[in-house]
Symmetry: C2
Subunit: 105 residues, 2 copies
């Protein structure tokens, strides 16, 4: 069972799109941050501040990365990276479980 050890977890959830996207913030001892999130089926556009690495742990979804016109399909496990200060779209087909890492550059 994969886990993050010796971390701080913010008790209150991050809630977006009427709760169809929610996440929990996890802070590591080195000060870096990840969120553990759930995506319900739907279409969403997100903006990034920092570079983000999105690891899909389970689910089925399509991703449109910034500057791209082709959707990437993920089914089961997958990963994609979004540059800082950009926008990306998700078309989520089934409930999806993700880890998002925020990367300061």
């Amino acid at each position: 069972m994969s886990s993050f050890e010796n971390v701080t977890v913010v008790t209150k959830a991050n809630v977006y799109f009427d709760g169809k996207v929610t996440s929990r913030t996890v802070i590591f001892t080195d000060g870096t941050k990840k969120t553990l999130g759930i995506l319900m089926p739907g279409e969403y556009e997100f903006g990034t501040d920092l570079k983000e690495i999105m690891e899909i742990q389970s689910g089925e979804l399509n991703v449109l990365l910034p500057g791209s016109s082709e959707w990437i399909s993920i089914s089961g496990e997958g990963e994609f990276t979004v540059p800082a200060n950009s926008k990306f779209k998700l078309d989520v087909k089934t409930v999806s479980d993700y880890i998002c890492s925020y990367i300061s550059e």
Copy 2:
């Protein structure tokens, strides 16, 4: 900002009712466990193994505790306790954010 410090968080979500109820497991250094969860609107019945203390951090919902015929209303913040090995019902009106503590007796 309230948080749990020096904890272990399981990376994969607990997913129930087609994702309308999801939670993350947090394990404390003393071995005790809590989950941080999201309830989407809907009606649910849950069963307990251990005694559970449910703290609602935000949301609007009604609770039917085991052996009771009267629904309790929670709006905003609230708390209720469910005995071990019992069933309770939730009628969730708005997206709700909870902390569930599992108590070994």
